[in-house]
């Protein structure tokens, strides 16, 4: 059968493409169905045969979603929390990474060890004491309780430290000679040079903040403060589940991440891989 190598190779290539197409269909199907389902009524979703083309119920579903859980507000909450979290956390990580890479200060070794330790210890261990801490501060059901505890991100710190270790000291030094203070040197000279790594850090942090579920679930208990994952979870727990509204909500929850991925694909994947290369 291997008498004709060209034919065998063609067959092999066909098989490779066939497997990729199959995998692609499996990957895409839930998305396509989610988008289709968001435009139909719940009754249509479970109709036999199922709807394959977009329907005309999108606005009705949106109105119902808005009425049942105030989805506009929920989206706004999620976006606000994720943006604030990402901005502050990225800045804190970049600063700490720079400090660890470029300064030798007392306690540096301890801090580095602590950063590594936080990476190995699952955050679930902290749930109970953090919950009690937030309760005693009277912060339950507040946004600062959602954002503050997880701002320091060890993954981000190590990523940025790695970025700064290879950074030439000459550039920093010449900025100082020009009379730049330490902080100004950092913002004006150093930070713009590590844009790619910063991009990876920002996409990674935003994704984590947008996906965050168990902590906001514990912290937030009034509906108009919910984040998207918490609101979706609430919808699944109702006695009569509004499935098409749920699909629309899931679609809206996924769109920001998908946009981020399509726009910043390289940084997105780099954020993931920076862990792998070090592994």
């Amino acid at each position: 059968m291997s008498s004709n190598p060209a034919a065998v190779r063609r067959l092999g290539r066909f098989a490779v493409r066939a497997v990729l197409v199959l995998g692609g269909v499996v990957s895409l199907l839930p998305f396509l169905w989610m988008a289709t389902a968001a435009t139909h009524s719940t009754a249509d979703l479970f109709h036999s045969p199922p709807p394959l083309l977009p329907g005309g119920q999108l606005l009705d579903n949106l109105a119902r979603l808005q009425e049942s859980i105030g989805f506009g507000r929920v989206l706004f909450n999620s976006l606000g929390i994720a943006v604030v979290h990402t901005a502050v956390s990225s800045l804190v990580s970049a600063m700490c990474g720079y400090g660890l890479a470029k300064y030798r200060f007392r306690g540096r070794g301890v801090l580095l060890a602590a950063v590594l330790a936080t990476m190995m210890i699952p955050f679930q261990v902290l749930l109970v004491p953090l919950f009690q801490m937030m309760a005693s501060l009277g912060w339950i059901d507040s946004y600062q309780a959602v954002i503050l505890p997880f701002l320091a991100n060890s993954f981000g710190i190590l990523l940025m430290r790695q970025a700064f270790v290879g950074f030439t000291d000459e550039l920093i030094e010449s900025a100082r000679i020009d009379g730049c203070g330490e902080l100004r040197t950092f913002y004006r000279v150093v930070l713009p040079c590590v844009r790619p790594q910063l991009g990876a850090l920002v996409t990674f942090t935003f994704t984590a903040a947008w996906n965050s579920f168990i902590w906001p679930l514990l912290m937030l208990n009034t509906e108009d403060k919910y984040t998207v994952p918490v609101a979706l979870n609430t919808l699944t727990g109702l006695s009569r589940v509004d499935y098409s509204g749920l699909m629309l909500g899931s679609l809206l929850a996924t769109l920001p991440l998908m946009a981020l991925f399509l726009l910043f694909q390289r940084q997105f994947v780099a954020g993931l891989l920076s862990g792998a290369v070090k592994g």
Binding site: E173, F213, M258
Partner: protein, 310 residues
Amino acid sequence: MTAVNTHERSVAPACAPGTVRRPRRRGHLSGWIFAGPAAALFALFFAYPLGASLLQSFTTEDAGAVHWVGLDQYQRMLHDPAFIQSLLNTGLILVVQVPVMIGLALVLAALLNQSWLRFRGTWRALHFLPAVTTLVAYAVVFQVLLKTDNGLVNQILGAVGISPVDWLNDPTWARISLILTLTWRWTGYNAVILLAGLQSIGKEQYEAAALDGAGTFTTYTRVILPQLRPVILFCAVTSTIGTLQLFDENYVLTRGGPDNATLTPVVYLYKVGFQQFDFGYAAAIAWVVVALIAAISALQYLAFGRERRR
């Protein structure tokens, strides 16, 4: 001590070229300006609760009063069927889902690495797409896809003559549903990581193996896979850690049910801590999860990491 170091600034510009002061020699104060915010956050929201949680795991709370109970909370787990069930469920995912997923991801990565393949970036993005879905949203979508009465999956099965499956209400099928859901989301993610590993292996190695008369399969098993070992190990360790911390997917999909069939230690911890408010026991469960993650990761390193090159 810091006062002296801050004065270095005024001296630095006077240095002759060639003896340029290395910035890392600068003072404690400057270093702490940059590292301080993160350090304060870690102390407040990591170190303190970590210590509190360890202490808490040796206590019990009774009508507001805290009592020291030694290892009682840990001993409780040995006789707690729900906790043991959660470990067994996790073990099943570790033994079945993680290897299957990494195997699939390896195949996918090898296919995506074919140099003759056109639009490789698009193919890669397509297979990576599931990893971009919001965690809770994809669990919700699968809940609807897997609905027993006229859910899309059962309708597709019905079209080829298979009777409806009670995906989320039957203990065995619920476990299978969870495994399928996890595999759907994370296979492409791992494939992209493995692909990056494959791309660091030079083309000449494939050619050399082919010259030596090795077939495609032998080339992969004998030449490529051994070099990919560190990346595979990374995928295995992160997947194991993710499995031991599993919460979002099974909490949304089945709430850990039916009959605790998809209960995981973290979902159980959540129920014990925040539905029964048994904080001491929840803390003890959390520390067992920590110990398991440390032990299993160490085992994986010992088993697969030993022949690591470089």
